[in-house]
Symmetry: C2
Subunit: 419 residues, 2 copies
Amino acid sequence: MKMKTIDDANKAVIDKIVGAAPFLVDVVPAHTVIPELEEKALLHAGPPIAYQDMTGPMQGSCVGAVLFEGWAEDEAEARSMLEGGKITFIPCHHVKAVGPMGGITSGHMPVFVVQNRSEGNEAYCIMNEGIGKVLRFGAYSEEVINRLTWMKDVLGPTLSRALQSTKDGLNLNVMIAKAITMGDEFHQRNIAASLVFLKEISPYIASLDMDKQDMQSVIKFLADTDQFFLNIMMAASKAVMDGARMMEAGTVVTAMCRNGKDFGIRISGMGDQWFSAPVNTPQGLFFTGYSQEDANPDIGDSAITETFGVGGMAMIAAPGVTRFVGAGGFQDALATSNEMVEISIDQNPNFTVPTWDFRGICLGIDARKVVETGITPVINTGIAHKEPGVGQIGAGTVRPPVECFEKALEAYAAKLGLV
Amino acid sequence: MKMKTIDDANKAVIDKIVGAAPFLVDVVPAHTVIPELEEKALLHAGPPIAYQDMTGPMQGSCVGAVLFEGWAEDEAEARSMLEGGKITFIPCHHVKAVGPMGGITSGHMPVFVVQNRSEGNEAYCIMNEGIGKVLRFGAYSEEVINRLTWMKDVLGPTLSRALQSTKDGLNLNVMIAKAITMGDEFHQRNIAASLVFLKEISPYIASLDMDKQDMQSVIKFLADTDQFFLNIMMAASKAVMDGARMMEAGTVVTAMCRNGKDFGIRISGMGDQWFSAPVNTPQGLFFTGYSQEDANPDIGDSAITETFGVGGMAMIAAPGVTRFVGAGGFQDALATSNEMVEISIDQNPNFTVPTWDFRGICLGIDARKVVETGITPVINTGIAHKEPGVGQIGAGTVRPPVECFEKALEAYAAKLGLV
């Protein structure tokens, strides 16, 4: 009887996932939609964490954000502010946001605004900076700050104007469905989706009355940034999963995120509560000169994509990325996605995968199935150097600790009066 | 002994295919690179054919080209010129060109210029007009002529300037390798390659000093035209195969093309000679309101893509297109490509297919293997209405008649003194 109730609740949650209608409608300075960022505050990835407990790259990102906001003159002053408790820290997830890797978000960084029109909720995510030395991996050199400033002054306002001239925003379901047919899994591979975004937005950009040099720099940046869509996908996944968890019942995993120390999950029946356990460290392939021992432990909110059913869950959609994350060939990709079906409630008919004989992506990770089978979700992830300032050193896969799912189920059982 | 010699010759031919280096370097009016088009002449697809033997859509394309060039005031005058023998007809293939469907090419149409830098040869192809009422499918209304005029006056010159500002041209091997990982087979599906082209060219277009309205119309046309890369791929395939057939020996198929009446092939050992037999009619899926009985027999030079190893030969690369051409699901795509391996000499390591566990595309169709096995190449193709002026009515697959390959082998055996 109780099991029936949970199944019914889960069905209601996944129906909201299937029915979701995420639209990219604007790019705005973060503080305009997240009032907490009007103060000296920073958002970070993962469940709550204090500055002194953060790993190197997340601390490096904090330094970069303080310099970007002009709160400090140099690194020494920035570190002193951060260590002295002058900055408030808030998990992205607590303010309708998600952030990649360190996830460090400050008030004047532009964020994507994704509306989920089926439920009327919104979600936010900062924009992708490209590869190499970038803030999200803990780099904070002048090059990094200059790029962030250009994104604030040129890229963000240009995309905002272009999106406004679309009138209705961009229908992300359509773009995701197109790109999955082109071999993206939307976590480590967004090359097709980023091109679909370029295709949709470039005619609007070309129509804007704006500085010619700026237009050229924006189009070139979008054309060159293969992972640009990742952050849009993260905001879309957050908007969809936040819409679905308005249904406060059931055992559907509604968020997975990591702060470099703890892995946190949420399930639909337990609302905003986090269930955490120490993170693992990703295994994968490293850029020349780096190895496993340089790897930072698992970090970032980007596992919201796996929560939605893509990323490592949809490995078979992206055989082209399987090798990049060190996960083998086509048959290994197939085996991974088939394994993920075992912990999912259903498959999403909106996003069919040609390489999976047109089966839908995984729909609704059931915490009960994870605990019963011992199979944890596979997450495709970038790998940061454990020291601040270095940046990305590889890509691989990682799994959450099963304890998160066990704790969530225990709490839900207690809430239901089952224990 | 003789077999050994043919194998050696074939090996030399496929080495030239693997070593080819096609670059897109310019877009120019056809007559500037094809002097035959300075006169009142038209190029057509397939082996040689007279106007009165052409099927409806090819005749319709001729009417459109005559109107576009301003040689006649109206359709009646155009038909009278064409029927009266006032126009010279030349197969595209005879002047280093290829043309889709009707393949009708006139002097003032802009053509892509692809250089094969390994052999120093060039190939040309007109630009893709998009879908709906288009000249290549036999439509010749005012809308069609106006679009061709815009392509001549705006699109062509803009792409020419953008390509010139790249200095070195665009390296097509790189773009093809990227797009095959994104599920294109380059005959009926070029959605990823067209986006890769947009990504490469749009920053250069945005840098041009040009009319703002024109810039916007060019970027919008490129963003909207999912098959834009097909014609680039055709020119690239022609450049590669023409480079390879400078090796005048062996049984490698170096061209396959159709004029709506005859299917013609060339093999490496027989140079420019055509071996022809009556075409089949494509089988496939039809747009609403049309059926198999409306289908024109097989037409167009686009099977040069299959000759290079993509299109139907690489069905497994594009499970997303398999359904579109009515060829079933993933397993059917796999079976098709596996069958095509049986008539190929090797697999091309430059273009690996993730969905085929990273095996290379088919390399070198061996006419001997076709005749021995009775397996003919699978061609993915658009389907034209058999009446002029209607346009595309569907997409499907078709195979060449085996007689072409038998005739080619007989002729080569005779040349070698084997019979």
